[in-house]
């Protein structure tokens, strides 16, 4: 989905603020949410990492922007537990004594059928173009490379296609690649000639250039 999470190249967020001597967790609740997501039996009821990421992406946009990293984890976890019938929204709201914002429902989707995993279509050095597609569901193809031309720098093996794995429990592995883009291909002639951006992309996202 073309959501706020797909931030590459956006303007307006200001300077990067670095906290000196930052602790691993800032609050005890962050430790607990990390533990619930990383290691609880409940986590194993709510599907793949891709489904979890999509639940974060489905957060109401202003909530996504306001929320800290672990608040996003909390929201995604609660959303998926409700969607999988482990908890109800009423239980959460009641126990929290007020509101418990969840992510928006997933849209009705047409999930792509990837070709059966086979030998990689591209090799190191292949010229490729990223397909200009805008799926409504989960994808790991950032907007800032869609339609752009790059060169395969690595062939990484075969991994489940997130566009399927986030939504559907069926085999969907296909080759993935490291693709190199000159900064000028992405950002125009004002970009430096000696900068490259390397993005990791599944075969379904690519076509021969």
């Amino acid at each position: 989905m073309n959501g706020l999470h797909d931030m590459g190249g956006m303007d307006g967020f200001g300077p990067v603020e670095v906290e000196a001597g930052e602790p691993v967790f800032h609050h005890a609740w962050e430790r607990r949410v990390f533990g619930l997501v990383a290691a609880s039996a409940a986590r194993r009821r709510i599907g793949t990492t891709d489904a979890f990421r999509f639940a974060i992406e489905r957060m109401e946009p202003s909530h996504y922007l306001r929320a800290s990293y672990y608040e996003r984890w909390l929201t995604a976890m609660a959303t998926l537990l409700v969607e999988h019938g482990v908890l109800t929204r009423d239980e959460l709201v009641g126990r929290a004594g007020g509101s418990f914002p969840l992510s928006r429902p997933a849209p009705l989707l047409r999930i792509p059928e990837p070709p059966p995993a086979a030998t990689p279509r591209f090799a190191v050095g292949s010229a490729v173009r990223v397909r200009n597609e805008h799926p409504r569901g989960h994808t790991r193809c950032p907007r800032y490379v869609r339609g752009r031309r790059g060169t395969v720098g690595r062939v990484d093996g075969v991994f489940p296609l997130p566009d399927v794995a986030a939504h559907d429990d069926r085999p969907c592995a296909e080759p993935a690649y490291g693709v190199r883009f000159p900064a000028r291909e992405l950002w125009g002639d004002a970009a430096a000639a000696n900068e490259t951006i390397h993005v990791d992309l599944w075969e379904s996202y690519l076509e021969p250039a």
């Binding site: 190249g9 303007d11 430790r31 608040e71 690595r154």
Partner: protein, 202 residues
Amino acid sequence: MSAPEDDRDHHHPAPMSDVEVRARALEELLREKGLVDEGFIDAVVSAYANDIGPMNGARVVARAWVDAEYKKRLLADATAAIAELGYGGPQGEHMVVVENTPTVHNVVVCTLCSCYPWPVLGLPPRWYKSAAYRSRMVREPRVLLREMGLDLPESVEIRVWDSSAEIRYLVLPERPAGTEGLDAEALASRLTRDAMIGTARP
């Protein structure tokens, strides 16, 4: 993991924030349903809070600095070479190490979320997860690195690695001049997390 009350009663006398209330509500409900395995959660959280961090990556880098054969293996198959030192696990199953040289500087970002090589660097700092870092590093790396304190000569090529799929990246910085007499342990203690993300030099 400490009992939930500790945080509120002993360290934060202020009322609980909304998000803390929600976190407690979720945890209580899951515990009542028998879906919280306390011992396992405690062990995992404690490992990331105390044992898994940039010191692991520093040992990998320092070893590569003092052992040319190890460095070759690290650049050829980082996951296996890192496993030689005992490091691996979630978010480190498919590692790639990218090497800085006098003419090439590497830096890592995740524009879509906050992917990060947990076994060698631990959990990511807030700035790595921030909208500012995620949006800007792919667009204006030289400017952003300068803002963050790393002023690279215009002649140095910058390679930005957006970890958008399953690969997780570790930067192999250049060994600083004047460290020829130091052993791996001393070298590792000089390395910072940011040098292995690529926003600083050691």
